[in-house]
């Protein structure tokens, strides 16, 4: 969706490319089973995040492994780096707290390298695995079906609802000529409330549609 000039300049959430991490490809790592990738990523993150102290050797090997994976996947490096930079500020923010204690610089560097490696690992997995395959992997790993159904629906309707809220904001912006902070808050609250009411009505229609396609409570 290309936002129209002017009014829609505040509608950054509509950047779908940022919300869909999957980069289509046919490389060997794309074709690996999702369960293997998920379990592998979990193992990787467990080792990197939980190994004691600054273990630079481990971090170097881990970085090498991730770079190799990225190279095999043939996803554009720019895309991967952009995604990494987008998620990095959260980690830096929390890591800054550690600078305020004695010997904090070392702790800061350790935290930063660990979290960057883990972030990059999941950036890579989500770039090379379809979300539906990830969900199937979760089911295979015995995550309760209710939770997986709920994740699937969340992912499916996330985009629908973001667009809906974007349309509501645009409609509002085209009718609101004065602007104040309090008014902004009140109107946004109304938008959120309407979004909830529409969501709960939509859920009823979705249920009817699911039943019409033969859905049962324990899933099929």
């Amino acid at each position: 969706v290309q936002p129209a000039a002017g009014i829609a300049e505040r509608d950054e959430p509509l950047r779908h490319d940022l919300l869909s991490p999957y980069q289509h490809g046919t490389s060997p790592v794309h074709r690996l089973p999702a369960t293997a990738k998920l379990v592998g990523a979990l193992g990787f993150v467990l080792v990197v995040a939980l190994v004691r102290g600054p273990a630079w050797g481990v971090y170097a090997i881990a970085a090498g492994a991730l770079t190799a994976y990225a190279a095999i996947s043939r996803v554009a490096p720019g895309t991967l780096l952009t995604r990494l930079l987008l998620v990095e500020p959260f980690a830096i923010g929390v890591a800054l707290l550690s600078l305020l204690q004695p010997g904090g610089a070392m702790v800061f560097l350790t935290l930063l390298s660990r979290s960057t490696l883990c972030l990059f690992c999941f950036v890579l997995v989500s770039a090379t695995t379809r979300f539906s395959d990830l969900l199937a992997a979760l089911l295979a790993l015995r995550v309760p079906r209710l939770l997986v159904t709920s994740l699937a629906l969340t992912h499916r309707y996330l985009f629908v609802l973001i667009e809906e809220s974007g349309r509501m904001r645009r409609a509002r912006a085209s009718r609101t000529f004065t602007r104040g902070r309090w008014l902004d808050w009140r109107l946004s609250a109304t938008v959120i409330a309407q979004l909830f009411i529409r969501s709960s009505e939509r859920a009823e229609r979705i249920y009817a549609a699911m039943c019409a396609r033969g859905w049962t409570h324990d899933g099929a």
Partner: protein, 319 residues
């Protein structure tokens, strides 16, 4: 705050993961037993709603902006167990898809934002709105108080987890996290209350039904979450709050020792003699400070509710 990977050590990650998994299991069981099949899709769509609502930014002072967290909003609109599932979906999706919040820290993040935040918020909401006779205004006062308390409670728990992992000292994380989140909580309270007020205007029955769960199941679940939250806070926060220098070492040693075995004895053991040594003037001053805080918070929440629900507003059995 979503804790990223690498900020928690093994014992904290394992313990919080275990508690969070138990809490989510309680919620899954409760929801699949008490919610009619026709409402199951609502859990997923409501998660998408919370996710989308979190992307709407509000201008705050000085060019910065904030967004809704939504735990208490979900709890007020859907009920506590449904809110636990909604927040679990949101956080899991953010973690796996957008690398927002670490995978090893997912348990800790779930504990803080999918269990502590909605459950604490819901309990405060029900107590406060019940005390005001479940009027429209009472619901709004309860929502405001619940939203503030839930934000601060989640921040305290997060500070404890970071300190227990020795990422940063408790003396730094506690004031930093709680100070910032006391302010964020005010914003969360205002926006959550305004949304609930708007829903109550448009669809009063959604508020009056108090969520989609059956009330009977709710109390048993709340007791279950209460036990889990107490265990969690006893492990994450109590060692620091009691000012006993050996508390951290003791918990660490016990948990480190018990890591291979079943985690349950390790969780229960730190509880037995903690409550006694701290009693005294420190407790009295804490109680006084807490009482003053509650009065101030209640007054603010009441003023907000009065502003949003003027006399004569329809529905909810007004006075």
């Amino acid at each position: 705050v979503h804790i990223p990977d690498g900020f928690l050590d093994a014992k904290t990650a394992l313990v919080s993961g275990g508690i969070a998994a138990t809490g989510v299991a309680v919620a899954v069981r409760s929801v699949s037993r008490t919610i009619p099949a026709s409402r199951v899709p609502l859990i997923g769509v409501a998660s998408a709603f919370v996710f989308a609502a979190q992307m709407l930014n509000f201008p705050v002072a000085g060019g910065t902006s904030g967004h809704l967290i939504g735990a208490v909003l979900a709890a007020v609109l859907l009920g506590p167990s449904a809110a636990v599932l909604v927040m679990t979906s949101v956080l899991t999706l953010q973690c796996f898809l957008f690398a927002d919040g670490g995978v090893t820290a997912l348990g800790a993040n779930l504990f803080n934002m999918a269990i502590v935040a909605p459950v604490v918020g819901y309990v405060v909401y029900r107590l406060a709105s019940g005390a005001l006779g479940n009027t429209r205004r009472g619901v709004l006062v309860g929502t405001a108080l619940g939203a503030w308390c839930s934000t601060v409670a989640a921040a305290i728990s997060c500070a404890g987890q970071l300190a227990l992992s020795r990422t940063a000292a408790w003396s730094i994380t506690f004031p930093a996290m709680v100070g910032v989140h006391a302010l964020i909580g005010v914003g969360e309270a205002v926006i959550t209350t305004m949304v609930v007020a708007a829903v109550a205007r448009a669809r009063p029955e959604l508020i009056a039904e108090r969520g989609i769960e059956s009330p009977r199941a709710r109390y048993a679940d709340l007791a279950g979450y209460g036990v889990l939250i107490s265990i969690g806070l006893a492990i994450f926060v109590e060692p620091f709050a009691s000012n006993r220098p050996d508390g951290l070492e003791r918990v660490a040693a016990r948990l480190g020792f018990a890591q291979h075995a079943a985690p349950s004895p390790a969780i229960a053991s730190p509880l037995h003699d903690y409550a006694v040594p701290g009693l005294g003037s420190a407790v009295a001053s804490t109680v006084v400070a807490g009482a003053i805080g509650i009065v101030v918070a209640f007054t603010l929440a009441y003023l907000l509710a009065r502003f949003l629900a003027p006399r004569g507003a329809a529905g909810g059995g007004n006075r």
